[in-house]
Structures are given as structure tokens and as C-alpha cells.
Amino acid sequence: MNVRSILKGGAAAAVLALGLGSSPAFADNIVMWVNAALANGPDAPLYEELKAFQAATGHTVEVQAVPPIEMEQKLFVALSGGAGPDVMTLDIAWVAGLADAGLLADITQKAGPIASQYQPGPYSSGLFEQKQYALPLYTNNVALLVNDRMLADAGIQKAPATWQEFHDAAVAMTNKEKQTYGVSLGGNRMGAFQLYSFIWQNGGDIIDAEGKSHVADPASVEAVDFLAKLYTESKAMPDSVLTAGNWDEVHAPFVQERAGMVVTGDWALAAVAKANPDLKFSVHPLPAGKQAATVIGGFDLAIKANTSVPEASFELVKWLSGERSIALMRKYNRLSALKKAATPEAIAALPPNMQPFMQQAAAGRARPVVAAWTQMHTDVFANVWDSVIRGKPAKEAMTEADAAIKNLLEK
């Protein structure tokens, strides 16, 4: 091979590159972990989107799907071991813990200019101790799914809108002979997740802005008591409330038309439709207590603290959480966390079953952003729920929880 042919080859390559348009000088490879729900199968919409990203920026993205149940643990183990992804999707409740351990990159500077495009609630989920560590990918909250036929059979005309109506409807749909129940909830962590909405609805709180625990306040205790008694006294929940450890098990009685209602988020719509396509159900805002409230969930995008490709990683985060997220998340039946996604016109464009979720978004409340939140949730509140549905007085359980939380806050 002589110099000329090398030059020729080089020229050909250059022409080829120019002809194709856009290969910037530094094309990086970004490793990204996503919760498995977004990358289920080779034709998940995410891959299409990443192709577009690659075409526009030249960076390649290597996607790893991680089952959400083990994702938080895997991230802790991997990131602290120096391994792990450059970019990751995070349940909004995990941000504080990972940031506190110094595992996430501080993106306060870079995120500043684009902060105003996000809805304030989801945006603040990436904020820990005055620093921004994550940007919202999608947002959700919980609403009430009602089996229309069972409600009508129980002689009730309209879906419950208050706690009293919720209670009455649950009791009316419960039939010991036919083994039908009013409402399906989960056990342990799944049940604990449901407590928060009801605590806020009753005017109670978990941890306030000053970092003070309100778990033992009468309003908080009363909310827990209300939910627990639906099972312990009214027997209006199926026994799966004792064991259901994932959403699928929570939905199962509703799907099988053994439970007339279920409190769940937009992820249920596709799952229910898939498991029982004939089921006729409708979606309603959570029945309001003293005030309307629902717990905000969803996933954020964050970057590893000492990634070797910080610029490319941020480009990816910006891309996926930006304007295009509206169309992308629609394909998953999820809600973008952009302000543009919450305008009346945008809501009207959503499928009917998605609209109630967006309509009550204003009543959404974020869970406390404290470093030990995961432990509070999985140890303290999961235990509260497991013990009250097994007959422990709510006041006693919540008083103990209050002490445990104060202890964790001090650390």
C-alpha cells in the first residue's frame, strides 16, 4: 500500500462522512440503564428515539434494561464500585439517597437554562440540598380505577368522589358469597405507597419543609386508620392485600373482577387492558378527603458522578427529557413532565383514560426528598401498613413510626 492509495482512501472516507452529513469530532459511547418497562423488547419506542439521537449528535447509546424492583440496589452496588452506567433512569424517590452518597453528577449549572420548561413538581424531584441532580423523564400520580359493572350492580350511580362515598362503595361491592370485594390494595411497600396520598388528603403530612416529622399527628393517624379498617373491619379488600408485592399482584383482583376498585397509576391502563381486554372500567380522580391530593411518582434521568463522557451524557438527558418526550411518552402511555404537556389543549389530546391523571396533577405532592427516604419507605411505612392490616391500632403503629423516622432524620 502506498501513500497515494492511503490518501485516496482517506479522501473517500471524508467524502462519505460529509455526504452522510453529521459526524461531529467527538462521538462518544454512552451506557444507559433504563427501567425494564421502557425497553421491553427490541421494538420499544425508546430505541427508535435513540437512533434519532445518534443521527443528530453522533453519540452512540448502549441500553441496558434493569428490572425496576432490583434497580435501586444494583445502581448502588455498581456506582459505588466504579462501574455502572453513564446515564440512568431513576425512580424519583431514589434521587436523594444516591445523591447523598455522592454517586450522581451535579448538573445545577447545565440544567439552569432549561429549568423553566418542566412542571415545577417533577423538576424539584431532582433537587437535593439545593443542587440539581436529575431531570424528569416522565411523571405520574395515582387515581381511582372503577369497574363500571360492579359499581352499577351494587346499586351506586356515580364513582365515589369523597372518602365517605369511597367507603360506602367499597362496602357495597363486597359480597362474601360471591367473593367480591370493594377495593384492592397491596401489602408492605405497595401498601405504604398508597398511604401517602390519603395522609395528605386528610390534612396530615409525613415530613414538612423544615424536616420535621408529622407522622404521629392525629390527621395522619386517622388516614391510616381509615384505610386499614376497610380491610380489618369492613372486609372490603381481598386477602391479596397481605402479600401483593408488585403492581401486577395489586391489579390481579381488579382484572379478575373480584375487586371493584383499585388505586393505581397510569401504568395500570396498559396492564389491565392486556390482562382482561373485555373489562369495562373508568378512571376517576382520587376521592378527596379534607383536600385533594395524590402522590407524585415517575422517573428522572441522572448522570453518574465521575462519568468519562459528561457532555454527551447531558446531551442525552436533555434530549430525552426535552420537547420530544411528549411524543415519546405518549407511545408508552406515560405523561411527559414538561409544562407544554399539561396545557388544556395537550390534556384534551390525551386518550380519555389518561386525562384524569393530568387533570389532578395540580394536587400532586412529592414524597420527602431526604437521604434516608428509601429506608423510611421500605422499613418504616411498609411495617406500619403490614401491622395495621393485621390488627395493630393505627395510633400505636404511627407513634412507633414517628420515633423511627425522627431517628433516621437525625443521622
Binding site: 459505588s80 452518597a101 401489602g187 386477602d239 402479600t243 403490614d386
Partner: protein, 314 residues
Amino acid sequence: MSARTARPSGLKPTWSSIFETGLGARAYPYLMVLPAVVIVLGVVVYPVLSGIMTAFYDVTLRSLNSGDMDFVGLRNFERVFADPNFVRALQNTVVWVVLNVVAQLGLGLALALLLHRAMPGIGFFRSGILVPWVVPSVVAVLTWRWMYDPSVGIVNELLVKLGVIDAYHPWLGDTATSLYAVTVESIWKGTPFVMLLLLAALQLVPKSILEAASMDGASGWKKLWYVILPQIRVSFAIAAVLTFILTVNNFNAIWLMTEGGPLNSSEILFTLAYKYGFKRFDLGLASAVATMLFVGLVVATTVYLKLIQAREED
């Protein structure tokens, strides 16, 4: 050894001849055990020692990252003892171990005696009964979890049909039954291995001894107790030790069925240590529990082996 190393006549020289005499001969056995010893030192002894060390330090992910771990003496142990979950897990471990070991040894012996006879079709039964041992434990545990399902579980359906219970019961969700429900799975899974060990031992019992016993008019329980059991006592002791170790270290069954719940009703020391270590990321605390577990295992096994030895010498 010296009798057998007498130099044979007419040795063909090969590379392996260097092990025949002098230094080579002396080094030969050491060279053969060396790889095993090196690996065991590297992957068992060193990690165990450093694991025990960890129990005396304050180790979290953050301190692992920064590299400065504080020596805290016995504080990790104090914290463990102060945790009510530890007491609960300790009690559960005792129940779990006793039930598993007794049931697996009893059933394993009974099965081995049944399968020992030469009968038509015995190979079929042997293979079938060994299936639980071979099925991957994750598969087995998930299948049992599915069978225990409170709304469509076949266990519930069969028990209702047999008239044992009136209505479906959430076996894994009831704090009173969760530990025992997992125990049933663990007995199902563990018994075939005990059976295998004892069956193998039974096959080595000389036929003449059994026949002589039958001629003397000994039958049934007497033959079992006075003739068969003494013949297989060594295997039985080994089966007991192995079952004990495997039960204490059985993580999959509990973790994948209940994660130690509900309300710690099926928590054993192993799962508790795992939670401390890889859910709460308090590695010092986890090591403290694991160290206690290890010491308990060694003490119990040593005492048991010593007792057996003492009886042998009588």
C-alpha cells in the same frame, strides 16, 4: 507409603520420573494439593478473615468510596443486639433449622429404605423422587410461590377439596404460617439429597449382614435399629451435618418467597444479614450478624462431630 514407593525395575524415563526419588518424591503430594490449598486460601480463608474484620469497622458504601473506615470495636454487635428484628430472626432460625433437619433426615431415611429394595420399576421412582434436588432452586421457589397464591393457588384448591381448610388461605401472607409454608418447600427441596446419601450408603451394606439378621428372626423396626442404622451411621452423620449447613445457608427459599416478611415473621439470620448489607448498605452490621452465624455453625458442627466420635469410641 514407603512400602509402595519401592523403586520398580525397568522405569522408562519420562518427565514425570523426577517425582520418583529424592526431593521430587517428597514434593509430589504437596504439589498435588497445592492448587486446591491456594484457591481455598484465596477464595475462602482470606475473605472469611476479612469478613470477620469488617464486623469491627464502620463500613458503609460512603466509607468504602472514601476509603477511611473507623474501627468501632464491638459497636456493630451492640447495635445488632439492640434490634428487635435480630431476636426474632434468631428464634426463627432455630425453628427453621430444627424443622428442616429433623424432617429431611426422617423423610430421607424413610425414602432411602423404600427405594433400596430391588423391585420392578424402582429406577423410575428413584429418578422421580430426585427431581426436586435437581430443579434449580429459583425455579422451585417461584413455582411454590405460585402454588401458594392466595387466590388461584393449587395448594389452596387441593386443601379445600381434601377438606383440610374451608376457604383459601394466604399462606405466605399470614404471619402465623409464612415461616412454615417456606419450610415445606425447603423440606421438599432438601430431602432427596439426604435420600441420595443414605441410599448410597445402604447399597454398601453387605447383603450377608441383612440376611443373617433375617435368619435370626429380627424384622421390621428391630432390624432397622440394631442392624441397618449402625451400618450407615457415618453417612447419616454426614447427611446431618450437610443438611444443617445447607439449611442455615438457605437463602433463595425465604428471599424469593417472602423476603423475610410479612413483619419479619419468616426472617432468619441469613436474610437479616443480607438486608443489613445490601438493602441498607450497612456492611459492618451485616458482617457482625454473619460472623455470629459462622461461629454458631462451627461450634454446633464441632460439638456434634465430637459427640459422634465419643460414641464411636465407646
